[in-house]
C-alpha cells in the first residue's frame, strides 16, 4: 500500500520543486472527495497540482492496476494542447511505474488509433468536448465509462460562455448518470484562469444538484508580474485615426524582436498575421528562417512544426493569433507583442502570461496601437490591472440547438428514455430552467419534425420504440456523426500546391472571389491561384509581389464592459485635463482636435454629434459601452426614430459609439435624445426593431447547423448532399412564417437579448445614460471619434419605416 501524501511529496522531491500551499490544499480536498475549481495561472504548476492527487488517490487505494479501462478523462479546449498534456501526465505515471497509458482522442488522431482504443481503452484520455460527444454517439458507450473516477476540464474559463461549455455540461451529466447507476462517485474538477465570476463558473461545471459542502475553489495566490510597454511613434500624427494595421511601427517591432530571446507577436485576425509576417520578412532579412506563423487556417503539420521549434528555441519570433492564447508552456518565450487592442483585460493578461512562463518570472508585453484611440484602451487596461478587475464569462443557457444535437447523439448510441434524460439534463446549469413543455417540444421536433403532423408526412429521424427514443434513419445518423460539435465555420477549401503539398485551408467565399492568376498571401507564401477542383484550390508559389491578403473571417472581438467603463473614466479625466500618463501625453494633439471640432465627454456626459453629407444626416452617439451593446442600442434608437417619422436609417457602430445615417432630416435636441433612450418599453421595442430580426437571422446560422437543420456536407466532398442543403436564412424566414413558436427561432432572439447582448448590460447602459448629461454638437467635419465609425463599413444594419414601394421609388430616383 502507498501513502497518499507521501506519493505526492515524493514527486515534488524528485523534481526538487517546492510544493506550494495551493497544491497542498488541492491534494487534501481531492482526497476528501471534493469537486471544484482550481484557479491558477499558466506556468504555476497547475497541471501537476491537479494530476498528482488523482494518481495518488488510485495508488493509495491500490486500485490503479486492479481495473482495466478508462479511469480519467481530461478535457481540453484545444487540440494543440493535447500532446503536451499527454506527455506531462504520462511522465508522472511512468515515474511511479503505474502501468497507465495516457492517450489522446481528438479529431487529429488516426482511424487506426481510434479502432485500437475501441478494443482497449487507455487509462487516461485527453479529449476535446466534441470528441467526447462523438464517443457518446457509439453504441455501448456506457461500458467505456464504467470505471471512470474523475473528469478534469482544463482551461474551463475558455469553454465557459460558449456552446462548447454547454457540451461539456451535458457530457458530464451523462457520465455522472452512468456512475450513479452503479452507485459510484465521479469527481469533477475544472482548471480555470482568474475570471470575474469563479463561483458561478464552478456552479456551471458541477451542475445545479451538486451539494455545496463537497464543492470548493482552490486559489493559487501567485500573482504574475506584468510589465506593459506601449510602443509609440515619435509623432502622434503618424498614428492613423482609424484602421487596424499599424505597420508604421515596424522598425520598433524588429528592434524588440532582436533584443529578446523569443517573441510571440499576437494579432487579432489571421489576415493581420499574414500581413505582419510578410512585412517583417521584407524589412529584415535576418528574420528569414527564424520566424514563423501560427494560426487556425494553417495545416496541422505546419502548426506542429512551429510549436516544436518554439519549444526547442529554434525560432526567434512567431506571428500568431488566438491559436496560441492558451496553455502550452514555451520556455524560450520571454517577450510578447500585442498588435491592436486586445479588447479585454483577461485576454491581455493571458497573452502577456505567454512570456516569462516559469513560476516567479516577469511577463513582458509590448502594445502596438494600430490607431490613435487605441491608446485610450491600453490606458484603460493598465488602470483595470492596477485595480485588479477582470471580466466575467457569462455561461450560455437554454441553447436548444446543442440539446437537440445531444438528444440525437444519444438516440444513435442505443437510445434514451425521456424521463431519465430529462432529469439529467435538468441537473445542468444550462438547462435547469427548462420547462416540461419545452422538453416536449424538443422531443416532438426530433420525432415529428415540428408541431403539425400532416397525414401524408414522412418525417424521418428519431422514433419511439416502447419508451426508448431511437434513431430511425441510417443516413441521418451518418450525417449527424459528421456534424457533432458547436463550432460552425464557413465552408473551407483546402489549399494545395500543384505538386501535392497541403498548406492549409481557407474560407470558400474568399477563394470564390479569386480569378485564376490572382495572387494572394497565405501561410507566409505569395501564392498564385490556379484552379478550384472540387473542394481544393490549387496554387503555386510565385515571385509576383502584388498580392491580395486573404481576408478571412474572425477576430472582431468586442470591448468588454469593464474596459468600457474604464475608458469612460479615463476620457472623463482627460476631459478635465486631469489625466497624466504616458499614453495621454501622446494622445493630446488628437484630443485637442476632438475638443476643437466637437467635445470630449465628461464621465457623466453622453456626447451626441450631428453632421450632414450627401449621404444624408449622420447622428453619432458615444455611450462607450462596447460594440455588442451598441449594436442593440443603435437598433433600438433607430427603431424609435422611425416610429415617429417615415424614414430609412443605416446603422454602423464600433466600441466607442454608433452612427445613425438617416435619409431624411431628423430633429435632434436634448429632449428628443432623452425620449429615445427611455427604458420604458425597452423589451418590446428591441424585439420589434427590424434590427433584432436581422441579428436573430445571423444568430440562426450557427443554430441551424448545430441543431441539424442545415447540413454542411460531407468532409472533402461538400458537393454531395447538395439536395439537402439550403441556406440558414431561408430556413429562418420559412420557420418564422410557418412556425413562429419554434424554440430554435426563439433561441435566436434570446441569444441576442440575453446571452450575447446581456439584457442587464443594456438596461444598465440606458439607466446610466438617463442619468447623464447630454451634450449635442453639430460638426462641420467628422470628429476623430466619428471618423473610425464612418470608415468602418463592415456591418451596417438597416431599418426603415417607409413603405417598400416608396423606398423603391426613392432608390430609383436617386439612381437616375
Amino acid at each position: 500500500m502507498y501513502d497518499y501524501d507521501q506519493i505526492i511529496a515524493s514527486w515534488y522531491a524528485t523534481r526538487n520543486w517546492k510544493q506550494y500551499d495551493f497544491q497542498q490544499e488541492l491534494a487534501a480536498a481531492y482526497q476528501q472527495g471534493y469537486n471544484g475549481i482550481l484557479n491558477a495561472p499558466t506556468g504555476s504548476g497547475k497541471t501537476f497540482a491537479m494530476w498528482l492527487p488523482i494518481i495518488a488517490d488510485h495508488m493509495a487505494k491500490g486500485n490503479h492496476q486492479a481495473t482495466s479501462g478508462l479511469k480519467v478523462i481530461w478535457i481540453t479546449p484545444l487540440r494543440a494542447l493535447a500532446k503536451d498534456i499527454r506527455n506531462a501526465l504520462q511522465e508522472a505515471c511512468d515515474l511511479f511505474d503505474m502501468g497507465w497509458r495516457v492517450e489522446i482522442r481528438t479529431g487529429d488522431i488516426s482511424a487506426k488509433d481510434k479502432q485500437a482504443q475501441k478494443k482497449q481503452m487507455p487509462d487516461v484520455l485527453i479529449i476535446t468536448p466534441e470528441s467526447l460527444h462523438v464517443l457518446l454517439c457509439q453504441i455501448g458507450y456506457e461500458t467505456i465509462f464504467e470505471n471512470l473516477s474523475c473528469v478534469v476540464v482544463d482551461e474551463w474559463h475558455e469553454l465557459l460562455g460558449s456552446k462548447r461549455g454547454v457540451q461539456v455540461e451535458l457530457a458530464i451529466s451523462r457520465l455522472r448518470g452512468i456512475r450513479e447507476d452503479q452507485k459510484k462517485q465521479l469527481r469533477i474538477w475544472g482548471i480555470s484562469a482568474t475570471i470575474g465570476n469563479l463561483v458561478e463558473a464552478m456552479e456551471v461545471l458541477l451542475g445545479v444538484d451538486a451539494p455545496e459542502h463537497t464543492s470548493i475553489i482552490i486559489r493559487s495566490e501567485q500573482k504574475k508580474q506584468i510589465d506593459i510597454h506601449t510602443v509609440l511613434p515619435e509623432h502622434i500624427d503618424v498614428l492613423p485615426w482609424a484602421g487596424h494595421i499599424g505597420l508604421k511601427l515596424l522598425p520598433n517591432i524588429i528592434d524588440i524582436i532582436h533584443r529578446s530571446t523569443t517573441t510571440l507577436v499576437f494579432t487579432n485576425t489571421r489576415a493581420m498575421a499574414e500581413i505582419w509576417y510578410h512585412a517583417l520578412l521584407e524589412n529584415d532579412e535576418r528574420l528569414a528562417g527564424v520566424m514563423a506563423m501560427h494560426h487556425g487556417s494553417l495545416s496541422g503539420e505546419v502548426r506542429d512544426w512551429v510549436e516544436e521549434n518554439l519549444h526547442n528555441g529554434a525560432l526567434k519570433a512567431v506571428i500568431c493569433t488566438s491559436s496560441l492564447d492558451l496553455g502550452v508552456d514555451f520556455r524560450p518565450v520571454d517577450t510578447v507583442i500585442q498588435i491592436g487592442s486586445p479588447k479585454g483585460v483577461a485576454r491581455f493578461t493571458q497573452r502577456a502570461g505567454r512570456s516569462g512562463h516559469q513560476p516567479g518570472a516577469v511577463s513582458t508585453i509590448y502594445f502596438i496601437p494600430t490607431h490613435a484611440l487605441e491608446l485610450v484602451e491600453i490606458s484603460a487596461i493598465r488602470a483595470a490591472m492596477e485595480e485588479n478587475v477582470i471580466e466575467k464569462r457569462d455561461p450560455m443557457v437554454m441553447s436548444f440547438d446543442v440539446l437537440i444535437q445531444y438528444m440525437v447523439t444519444l438516440s444513435i448510441s442505443g437510445g434514451f428514455k425521456s424521463n431519465e434524460l430529462y432529469r439529467e439534463v435538468k441537473s445542468t446549469y444550462a438547462y435547469h430552467l427548462m420547462s416540461p413543455e419545452e422538453w416536449q417540444w424538443l422531443l416532438q421536433h426530433i420525432t415529428q419534425g415540428g408541431q403539425t403532423l400532416q397525414a401524408y408526412d414522412e418525417f424521418n429521424k428519431v422514433g419511439r420504440v416502447g419508451d426508448v427514443y431511437r434513431i430511425m434513419h441510417k443516413k441521418a445518423a451518418t450525417r449527424h456523426r459528421l456534424s457533432i460539435g458547436t463550432i460552425v465555420s464557413d465552408t473551407v477549401v483546402a489549399i494545395k500546391l500543384m505538386n501535392g503539398g497541403k498548406l492549409g485551408s481557407i474560407e470558400e467565399y474568399f477563394i470564390a472571389s479569386l480569378k485564376p492568376g490572382d495572387v494572394f498571401w497565405f501561410a507566409g507564401h505569395c501564392l498564385e491561384f490556379l484552379m478550384l477542383r472540387e473542394m481544393t484550390a490549387f496554387v503555386k508559389i510565385t515571385k509576383e509581389q502584388k498580392a491580395i491578403t486573404a481576408s478571412y473571417m474572425g477576430g472582431r472581438m468586442p470591448l468588454s464592459s469593464y474596459m468600457a467603463d474604464m475608458m469612460r473614466k479615463q476620457l472623463g479625466q482627460a476631459a478635465e485635463s486631469n489625466l497624466h500618463n504616458f499614453e495621454y501625453t501622446h494622445l493630446q494633439p488628437l484630443l485637442d482636435l476632438q475638443r476643437d471640432r466637437s467635445a470630449i465627454p465628461a464621465y457623466d456626459t453622453i456626447l451626441v454629434e450631428t453632421a450632414e453629407s450627401k449621404e444624408g444626416l449622420h447622428i453619432f452617439i458615444y455611450p462607450f459601452e462596447g460594440r455588442v451593446v451598441h449594436e442593440v442600442l443603435a437598433g433600438l434608437i433607430a427603431f424609435r426614430i422611425s416610429k415617429k417619422q417615415e424614414l430609412s436609417i443605416s446603422v454602423a457602430m464600433n466600441d466607442y459609439g454608433f452612427e445613425l445615417l438617416c435619409n431624411h432630416p431628423v430633429e435632434i435636441n436634448e429632449s428628443v435624445i432623452r425620449e429615445l433612450f427611455e427604458i420604458k418599453g425597452l423589451d418590446d421595442d428591441v424585439f420589434q426593431s427590424v434590427n433584432a430580426t436581422e441579428m436573430a437571422r445571423r444568430k440562426f446560422r450557427d443554430i441551424s447547423v448545430i441543431s441539424g437543420m442545415v447540413f454542411q456536407g460531407y468532409p472533402g466532398e461538400q458537393k454531395r448532399a447538395r439536395d439537402l442543403q439550403s441556406s440558414a436564412q431561408l430556413i429562418f424566414d420559412v420557420l418564422r412564417k410557418y412556425e413562429p413558436s419554434n424554440l430554435l427561432i426563439k433561441q435566436a432572439y434570446d441569444e441576442i437579448l440575453n446571452d450575447q447582448m446581456e439584457n442587464a448590460r443594456l438596461r444598465t447602459a440606458l439607466l446610466r445614460i438617463s442619468k447623464s448629461k447630454i451634450l449635442i454638437k453639430h460638426t462641420d467635419r467628422f470628429s476623430p471619434f466619428a471618423f473610425p465609425i464612418v470608415v468602418d463599413d463592415l456591418s451596417r444594419n438597416k431599418l426603415t419605416s417607409e413603405s417598400l414601394a416608396s423606398r423603391i421609388q426613392q432608390m430609383l430616383r436617386e439612381n437616375k
Partner: protein, 214 residues
Amino acid sequence: MPIAVSIKGNSFRLSPDFALYWQDLQWLIIADAHFSKETHFRKHGIAIPAAILQEDLRRVDVLIRTYSPQRVVFLGDMFHSENNPGIDAFAKWRNGNNMPIDLVIGNHDILDRSRYADLNIDIHEDKIIANNIVLAHDDLSDIPEGHYLLHGHIHPCIRLAGKAKQSMRLPCFWFGKEKGVLPSFGTFTGGHAITPNKTDQVFAIADAQIVRIN
C-alpha cells in the same frame, strides 16, 4: 394590379404571386415551383415546416381562380426531388381539379415518367414552342430565328441601393432582348442576384405588388 408586358406581339400579365399569364393563349406560366422540397428535407430528418406545400398549392389555386387559364405550364423544377409523400399530397390536390398541366423538364424533375402520367401532367423534354415564344427551363442557346425564350432555373433577384446606405434584394421578372426569366414560385426556394443590361426590363415583386425597376 397585374402589369402588362408585350413580347413580340404577345401580351403577358405579370402576377405579383410569382407567375406569368399569357393572355393570347390563356396559359398560366410558373417556373421553379420546387413542390415538396420541404417533404424531401423532412424525409431526411430535417424539420422544415410541412405546411409549405399546402400553402404553395393554395397559391396555385388562387392564380387559377384569378385568371381561369386554359392550361398551366410549369417551366421546370416543378418537383424538387424523387418520389416522396409530398407528391402524394400533390396527387390529392390534382384529383380535385381537371386543369391541363404541362411541364418542361428541368434538372430537378427526376420522377419516373409514368408518375407524371399518373398525375395527369404532360411532359415536354426541353421546350414548348407556341406562336413565336419558346418556353423552357434552361437558358437555351439555340432559339429559332424570330422567337423569344421564356425560362426559369436561375431564381432571379434584383438588388437595389439608395441613400443612407439602404439596400434590398427582391425577386423579379427579367426581360432581355431575346429572352426573359421568371422568378421562382416555391416558398422554400432561394434567389440569385442578377446584373441586368440597361435595355433590359426588370419588374420586382415587393409586398404583393409588381414594381418596374428597369
